[in-house]
Structures are given as C-alpha cells and as structure tokens.
Symmetry: C2
C-alpha cells in the first residue's frame, strides 16, 4: 500500500483525553476514532490489526474443534425473560423498542440465543460434543466507558459455547478452550496467566480469567513466578485427548495465581518472596463452566444413551479482539510508539523513500516495493514528500516490525538500510539482499 493512497491520519499532538498509553498510541497512530462515549471507529490501520487478531482467534478456535456461526447483534427480550436474566442484567443492557413496540436489546453476550439455537435442532447425545462460536459486536452500556477500546461500550467479542452430556465431558470442553486460549494469546505475542475468577452475571462454579501483566492493568493480581516459564502447547496438541488436555490445564493451574477478588493471603504468604509476582493485570479472556444454568430453564435437553432426556451441560468462553489490540500495545511499546509482534502487525514491513522525486531513489523503492509484494509481504510504502524526521517518527509510531530505508545516496550506491523496530538495530545491505533479509 502506497501511503499517498492510504488513509493514515497520524496525530502530532498527544490527545488529552487518553489516560493510558494504548489509548494514546491508537489515537496518535490513526487506528481509532471516538464517535460517541465508548463507541469507536476502527480506521484502516486499526482495522488491519483487528483482522490479524481475529484471524488468530479464529484459527485457534477452529483447531480446537469449535464451529463458527454468526448470531445477530439485536436479540428479542423474550429469550432473556426465559432465562430470567432480562431483569437481572440492569442498566448495562441496551434496551430497545421497535416500531411495533416489541422489546429488543443489543446483545451483551449470547448464552440465551445460542441455547435457543441448540434446542431447536439438537435432540440426541450422539450430536455432542458441540462448541459453537461467533465473532460479533456486543454492547454493554457502562456507566463510565474509558481507556479507549480497552473499556468501550460497543466492542468485538469472540464468544464460544460448549454443549455436553455431563459434567465430565463439559470439563473436557472447558479444558479444550483453556488450551486454545493459551495458544491464542501466545500467538498474539502475549504472556497470559489463567487465574481463578468470579463468575458474575454469567453464573456457574468454574471460571478462569486470562490476565496479562501490565503496569496500567485495571486490577491487582498475584501469581507465582513459575508462570513465566510454563510451556504453551504447540500446534500438534491433540484436542481429542481429554487426559492430555487435563494434564496441561493442571500444570497451568497448580502454581498460585489469583486476582484481587479471589486472593488468598494465607496461601500467598506461604510462598517464598522471590517467587512472588504482585502486579497489575489486564483481563484478555474469560471462560466459564455453568452446567445447566441456561439449559434447565430454557429446556435445552438431549436424549441420553439410556433414552432419558437430560439438560445439556454448558460453558461459555470469551475473548475481546478489540480490547486485545489495546492489551497488545500495553505490553509492547516504547517511548517512540507501538512495537507490533510480527503475528499481528498490520503490515509486515514499512518501506521509506527518503526523497520522492529523486530518480534513483524512486526507482530503487519502486523496485523493492514490487519485490516485497511478490514475496507475499504486506508493505506500507511511504512515498510521500515529507521531512525525514516526520517519516522516521511516523514509522516508529505505527510500529511495523521492520523498516526498509532508501535514501538518494544509498540508492545510487545500490544500498538500503533495514531497521528492526523492536531493537532499533540498523543494517546497511545491498538492494539485492533486502527481500531476503526481510523474509529471514
């Protein structure tokens, strides 16, 4: 993409309203724009990162055997009256009346609707296990939305829902998502630590939050240092191996880890001081087992092997990709801007033409642009006639993993510089070696 044809509105000033670094950087890098309190547009650069994150989330959901569908944003209130949550949910639920005075709502979550889908079609235990997920916009009318997309009112959520015949199998479904989440966050460049959690309005008795450590985190968290070195399962993890999954989950839930709400000071005090990490954390995922909480009132039953109808055991599993963007930036930035992990970078490489209009420089850059694209790389090509300082600062701010810099002298000498954003390290290379270096 040529910058001259792109829409990347970089802000020079630091916006005053932004209290945390990710919010500041997302505004400055032209990723998002606030349209109303807690409601954001994702500008083209932000949309690209969102797509990269969603792709990882989707690949890992699919790998674990979950199946994607897409439920609507607007839901009928009657479904929520069936589960009993319509009145419970309070003012966070955005309630709507249509032209025929029917009660609707903008879905804050989808337990009711997916249970309704399940009961409409599934009759037998033979059709289980089943895990259905979607990636759809949700709305929660927070009293005080803040921190940009970290705590917005309209936000993107991947929510998965598992259905099983009994607790034991539901626990395996839970383990499957647990392991899938470990992989998802790692692929996004994050170190996420699962912590026992309160279940809140979703309900149930077994729940983990996945928390990343960040000084700007919303809550205090406590965990054992062992978490920093625990192994995240590889691509070859067998999601059909219930015992193997349980083993992994055990290893990830044995060392001490707790959010403020669930903190056990006695257990904590028993740990050696040099093994303790007390820090602030950001929740990036939340998984729940709640058994028959929805299937019983909503009569989502299947016929078991013995011919008897039983309500299905369910769990739900959420990741907010829009919030994840902010969390990734909180975890990966420096004083000059964002540092995208390669896996979620909106472009693989930035190509800087230091002197558009200079024939040698243009020719070298145009040629590199073609070569890099031919190597299947996403390239952002700064072909604009701006000052060197602006070019460097902008490219650092938006945080692409690699920069290829071509000036008129280098172009004449047949050379370019390759800069690694994370380390600042620069190498001068022959133009012919650039693509190989970028691909390395």
């Amino acid at each position: 993409m040529r910058l001259s044809r792109y829409f990347l509105p970089i802000l020079k000033e630091t916006p005053k309203e932004a209290e945390i670094v990710s919010h500041r950087l997302m505004l400055r890098a032209g990723m998002i724009r606030q349209q109303a309190a807690g409601i954001y547009s994702f500008l083209p650069f932000g949309k690209r990162v969102l797509d990269r994150v969603c792709r990882i989330v989707r690949e890992e959901q699919d790998r674990s055997g979950a199946i994607e569908l897409l439920m609507p944003t607007i839901q009928p209130a009657d479904l929520w009256r069936e589960s009993g949550r319509y009145d419970d949910y309070g003012k966070e639920m955005l309630r709507i009346e249509d032209r025929h005075e029917r009660d609707l709502l903008f879905g804050p979550t989808n337990e009711e609707m997916v249970t309704d889908i399940f009961r409409s079609y599934v009759r037998s235990y033979k059709d289980l296990p089943l895990n259905l997920y979607h990636i759809q916009w949700k709305f929660r009318d927070e009293v005080r939305p803040r921190f940009g997309v970290m705590r917005s009112r309209e936000f993107l959520m991947k929510d998965a829902y598992s259905f099983d015949i009994d607790f034991e199998r539901a626990k395996t479904a839970y383990d499957r998502m647990f392991v899938s989440y470990l992989r998802t966050f790692q692929r996004c460049g994050l170190k996420a630590i699962p912590m026992r959690a309160d279940t809140g309005p979703i309900g149930g008795d077994l729940s983990h939050e996945f928390i990343i450590l960040a000084s700007t985190g919303e809550s205090e968290v406590f965990c054992h240092r062992d978490y920093l070195d625990l192994h995240v399962p590889g691509e070859d993890v067998d999601f059909d191996d219930a015992a193997g999954l349980a083993e992994i989950v055990k290893s990830w839930t044995t060392p001490y880890a707790a959010t403020d709400e669930m903190h056990d000071t006695a257990a904590w005090d028993g740990l050696p001081d040099d093994q303790k990490i007390a820090a602030r954390g950001i929740e990036v995922g939340h998984i729940f087992h709640f058994g028959t909480k929805y299937s019983e009132p909503m009569k989502a039953v299947v016929t078991g092997p013995d011919g008897k109808d039983v309500p299905v055991h369910m769990g739900s599993y959420g990741i907010g990709p829009s919030r994840l963007l902010a969390a990734i930036i909180e975890a990966s930035h420096d004083e000059n801007g964002i540092i995208w992990p390669k896996s979620v970078a909106p472009f693989d490489v930035g190509l800087i033409n230091m002197k558009p209009g200079d024939a040698a420089c243009d020719a070298a850059c145009d040629d590199l642009y073609r070569q890099l694209q031919a190597a299947d790389l996403d390239v952002l090509y700064d072909d604009q006639d701006t000052r060197a300082g602006v070019k460097f600062a902008s490219m650092d701010l938006i945080g692409l993993p690699l920069q290829v810099i071509v000036g008129p002298r280098g172009a004449k000498a047949g050379e370019a510089e390759v800069k690694v954003r994370a380390t600042g390290k620069r190498d001068t290379l022959p133009l012919t070696a650039v693509v190989g270096r970028v691909l390395a």
Copy 2:
C-alpha cells in the same frame, strides 16, 4: 470438515413461512435461523457462504482503490441532526436511548459518520481522491420484513463513500465503483444489469441500481437484450484510467434499461420486440452520486489548489452481502436444492462415504479426504451412518459444486464416482484420479 463433527441442521420439511425459494432453501439447508422478525442467525453453513461473498466484495473494493475501515453499528443522533436526516428518516430508523438518556441509533447507513471522519482529518485536495468502505451490520426497521435475508431488518452491508474535489472527479469515482460492481457480481456468478434509479432518502442526482433477473424479483424491470452479452471488464482493468472507465460505463448504460419507477414507455415501445426483456428483478447493489448534500451542512471542506475551501463532492455505494446470498440462490437452484457457483461455494467438494464402518470404504474415503485437503480444497466429508437416499438428497440440497461418492463395491474395485451438481453428470474414476478430476 467431517459431517459428524459439523453443525448442519438440515430440515426435512419445507418451512411454511417461507414464500420464496431462496428463503425455503436457506432454512432447509441449515444456513439461517430466524431469531425475531427480520433478524437472523447465520448458521455455520450460511456463515461460510457469507464469508466467501464478503471476500469477493472486499477484493474488488480493494482492487478499485477503496480503503477498508470499520465504523460502529451504534451512532449518536446528533450527527444525523447535523445533516437534517434524523427527523426525515422516519420509523425505519431504530432509535435508542442509553442509560444517560442520550439519543443513539442503530445505523441504517453511514453517510453522516463517514463525513464526520473525513472532516476530522482531511484538509487538502492533495489527499483526494479518497474512498472509504466498511462491511458492517445495519438495521432498518421495516414494517413487514419478509423473504428471509432478502428483506431482513438486521443485514450486512458493504457501504463505500467517495470524496473528490469536484463533480468531474466525483464522476470518475462513481465510474470506478460502477466497474467494480460489474466485476463483483460477475465473480459471484450473477448477471447484474445497471439501471437508472431513484435516489430516495440518500439523495443526489445520479444513481444506478444493479439488478439481477429472477422470476421472484421484487420489482418489474425492462431492458434491452444486448445486456446479456455485454463484456464485464477483466482483472486488468485500470482504475486510474478515467477515460477508460467512462467508456465502460457508457457501454453499460447506453442500451435501454429501467426499473418500473423510471420506465419510459415511449422509448420502450420504440425497441424491436425481439430485443425487449420485460422481467422481474432483484436489486443487489445501489450506487449514488449526491455531491455536496452532506459535506455542505456538515462542513466537510478541503482547501483547493487555489487556496479556497470547497465542500467535497461525495458518492455512496452499497452492496448487501447477506441479501446477495439469497439472490445467488434465486438465480442458481433446481428442484433438488441449491447450486452454488464455484466462487462462493461454502465447500469446494462433498465427499460421501456410502457405508461408514465398511473397512474398504472408510479407508478409501479417509485417504481421499486427506488428499483433497492436501490439495488445499475445502471438503465436507459425509462420514455419517445414514441411508443412501438421505445422503444424496442432503448433498444435492446444500449444492456443493462437486460430489465424490464412494461405495463399498467401488472402494474394493479402487473406484469412486464424481458427480457435477449443476448437470447431474456422473463419472466413475479410479481413486487415484479423483483429486485431479476435482481440481480440473
């Protein structure tokens, strides 16, 4: 994907509520489920087609130089008060009040919001032309939603918005989208005919609807037979060549074509009878040039080359991917079910194991499944223990372009049948030749 692990709830009975064939087939093939009047879930099979259609739409928008962003579903009412449309829009607009009693609405379209984004960042004619698009859920509270996703209340829309310095350049932006739409619909397997159209609540003076001919169409249309043979531009069309684009648009707007509303009976009567097509049509896209209708009241101005501020000339361009699914089915089905054009088929091929449990049959099918996947094909593998009649009827109903059928006798003889869904033609082939045949 193994059918035993998939969620494809096929209905045996024809649903009574469905008045048109696409609605009937989408319900029967387990593609959609109604959650409230005019509000649908896309079940996994439907979601896959929606993704395929969106990918084509996106590729053709990108090819034409439009840039993708993502605006939220919920909009502040104040923006619409600025343009004057808040009161005009009537009961089709879903109006919402949040917990702080601020007026919001679920966006039925995005002219106001995108104009707001534009005026916030763009100052100079040098940043033009610009075309921003997104693919996002919209809501229009129709009095009588019907025909499934053909006329639903919540629907997916790709809407693009162009910004230019004057009418001439805005006309080129219009031509660019016009040509992009011709390509988009052709790639979806549709023959779409552009017809002069009313502009309705969007406003403006230049507008075309893209209409496909279908006996179940919502409106009467009239066009010259020449349209059936007109050339659709190839991938190599140059979107920077204003004159070339104008030429293409001219060739596609010269023969007579009109919807009922714009019909000119005098011109029509002048055509030779054997050149006339009077039929019913389905609108699958709508493009508008409306100049400064929004930029003037909302003060979206840029500084021109002469240093003077001028309001930008705008157009908007819509395609409804969710509605397009239904239109594709209306245009491509037979008495047994859907016939997906290859380009949007949710799976490339269906593999039918006629006798799961039979060792030779299982071995042959499992091997073909691996081979087809290794050839980068999306395969739906019917590995379920059901009757032959059910298997054949289901596979025809869901309409994958090709079927590979393996029975116990064939497996022993080292053979499989390959069936083309569109023609019903079946060939018996050696198992070793199947992948080659499917790829051909």
